[in-house]
Amino acid sequence: MSRAEILGNIRRGLNRSEADTERQQAVQNRLACKPSNLIPQRAQLPAAEQVELFKTMASEAVSELIELDRFDQVPSACADWLSSQGIRELVSASNSELRELDWSPLAQQQIEKTERVAQAGDLASLTLSFAGIAETGTLMLHSGEQSPTTLNFLPDNHLVVLYRSAIVGVYEEAWKTLREKFGDTMPRTVNMITGPSRSADIEQKLQMGAHGPKKLVILLIND
């Protein structure tokens, strides 16, 4: 059987037996304590500067940033941005926070909003980000009842709401928050997204919009 052969080969190579308590202890320790490795200085900053770093790095990755004072400004910001692109539809995550907003600004600009998973041909989606990571201007989203993953990848344009207070310095802080929220079992998927889709597979020349969204718009709420 392959499994026994592979593990047996490894143990023979290491000259160790299965019942090697010292090695087992080392493995259990590392899994339990989850020691951090070197964390770069770059993002170890006061909160306000972390937000500035996030904005700089996100822009460098070609994300568009729209800053809003309040969460209830999201519908009008979506309406304005979609109109500027000539888009008349928006697929939203079936998220209770988003649902409670007053979406009349969309209707005023003849934009239709639906709540569902994404389908091929969708032009724009709206989701909520779990965290923003200043180090590289990265959004962290996770799957769940209220946040279908297809919305992050299939539509041509992806609009993401991010609270200023959800911005952390480094990935390690986001893992900590994720563990606090989910305990031992991770959500099915965690997506770290840094800018819109791109490829340099033709003559090493970078082109934006390969298979994922061609534009990534971050609606940053200065809560």
Partner: protein, 472 residues
């Protein structure tokens, strides 16, 4: 994939004379190394990260069996399945089996070198399942019935015109030479494939034992569509990719993108931890991980164990003067460049792969950029020793070396011989000191002149310097 490694010499010769290939390779030389250098200069702790990456990989390899068991336990706990494949054939059969269980007609594929290694596409096709590559580079290659020549930039050997022709022939649309139009075409054609596929197959950059997650690191988003839309997601990966925790994965993510494309971070870093959960509205219903060995477990405890640290970033080939001159296809199998020169003999045998560890100038550039500090030149030398011990080298090389060793071990012969050879070469070269042809050295002089030895031999110079009291 057919093994053409024994023909390295001829293939390299042809590659040097191929103007189109040389043009395409020019894009590589100007691109990746410069971008990496900028990314590294922006991360002052990069050298420390490399040290930690090396040390952490060593820790993992010393506990590889245990971390694999932990990873397996956690995947199953998440509702997924783990399959162990000793050989390429085992892996192919396992994957086909999964496809047949769900009556799959087509499978979409994210970029995966392990599936190239096991020859999955041909196997699936021969058994009635149509694989569709979705990474733009891999898709271009599939249309051309071609294979990747680089582990992260698979179509680097092609020019715009090649892509334009391949798309024109297959998409039945007006021919375009605009890369943006071509990419949009691929986007539209592949969108239907993503939605129609029954199974999505991806690789994994790392497997996290703590959470039972696999992660893919991409820029296009095709991997995410591949693994999110079909009912079944199959991750095909290899046993050395396991890491203990999310923190440990993070260390390697900080090294990977910077070493590979020179990006601060790739666009999509996606963790998959099992099938869709109760209440989820999308995502695969079945989640399988196929752990491929294919010779790796035999490297544990051997002189090649260090190679198992490799995170497949491609920095070694991006900086290699040999790769840059002859391209990836010259290497004749799946993995090119310095990392391929070490891995290939392990996977296809030194009898067939012996040319590769010799295809090196031993300049050491590969080791100097490796994010996990693999001593690639040293490992290539191990293969050369192995090849020598097994009497696999060509007779000329063997007798040549034996002749040289005979002389070198006898100073009374060696000194006058080298003095004479140096004098004769100088005389042969004439006034300008350049040798245009030299018996038995056509491999050198066909391409460039050989400079004639200047001045005294090393031994003469050494003696004189000693006499002068070590002064210059």
């Amino acid at each position: 994939m057919q093994i053409n490694t024994p023909f390295f010499k001829q293939r390299a010769h042809d590659a040097l004379a191929d103007a189109n290939l040389q043009k395409a390779l020019g894009n590589l030389k100007a691109g990746f190394p410069e971008k990496r250098a900028i990314a590294v200069s922006r991360m002052p702790e990069f050298e420390q990260l490399r040290d930690q990456g090396r040390d952490l990989k060593n820790h993992i390899l010393e506990h590889l069996d245990l971390y694999l068991e932990e990873f397996e336990r956690k995947v199953i706990e998440n509702g997924g399945h783990v399959h162990w494949a000793r050989t390429a054939d085992d892996a192919n059969r396992i994957i086909l089996d999964i496809c047949q269980q769900v009556d799959a007609k087509t499978v979409t594929k994210g970029k995966s070198m392990v599936t190239e290694e096991i020859g999955l596409n041909d196997f699936l096709e021969a058994n009635g399942v149509q694989p569709v590559e979705t990474d733009l580079g891999e898709y271009i290659l599939q249309l051309r019935h071609d294979h990747p020549s680089h582990i992260i930039a698979p179509a680097i050997h092609l020019n715009l015109e090649d892509v334009s022709e391949a798309f024109h022939a297959n998409h039945h649309r007006p021919k375009s030479s605009d890369p943006a139009v071509l990419m949009q075409e691929a986007r539209e054609v592949l969108r239907e494939k993503f939605v129609a596929a029954d199974v999505g197959i991806t690789g994994a950059n790392f497997c996290v034992a703590e959470t039972g997650s696999t992660i893919i690191v991409t820029n296009e988003g095709n991997g995410d569509l591949t693994q999110t839309l079909p009912k079944t997601h199959v991750v095909v990966t290899s046993i050395e990719k396991v890491v203990p925790t999310l923190e440990d994965m993070t260390l390697f993510l900080r090294l990977l993108a910077r070493s590979a494309t020179g990006q601060e971070f790739s666009v999509y870093n996606t963790l998959s931890s099992g099938p869709r959960r109760e209440g989820d509205q999308d995502g695969p219903e079945n989640f399988h991980v196929v752990l491929v060995d294919n010779g790796r477990s035999e490297m544990v405890g051997s002189e090649f164990q260090d190679m198992l640290r490799c995170i497949r970033c491609s920095a070694c080939m991006n900086h290699c003067p040999v790769y840059g001159a002859v391209g990836g296809h010259s290497y004749g199998w799946v993995y090119p460049g310095p990392m391929g020169s070490v891995l290939t003999p392990q996977m296809i045998g030194i009898e067939k792969g012996g040319m590769l560890p010799n295809a090196s100038t031993f300049c050491g550039k590969c080791e100097s950029v490796c994010p996990v500090r693999i001593p690639l030149p040293k490992l290539m030398r191990h293969w050369r020793e192995d090849e020598f011990e097994k009497h696999l080298q060509p007779k000329a090389a063997r007798y040549g070396l034996a002749g040289w060793a005979f002389l070198a071990k006898r100073p009374a012969l060696y000194k006058p011989y080298t003095r004479m050879a140096s004098w004769m070469m100088k005389a042969w070269a004439g006034k300008n000191g350049r040798i245009r042809t030299l018996p038995l050295a056509g491999g050198w002089t066909d391409w460039r002149d050989m400079p004639a030895p200047q001045g005294k031999t090393f031994m003469q110079a050494w003696k004189e310097q000693q006499k002068a009291g070590g002064q210059q």
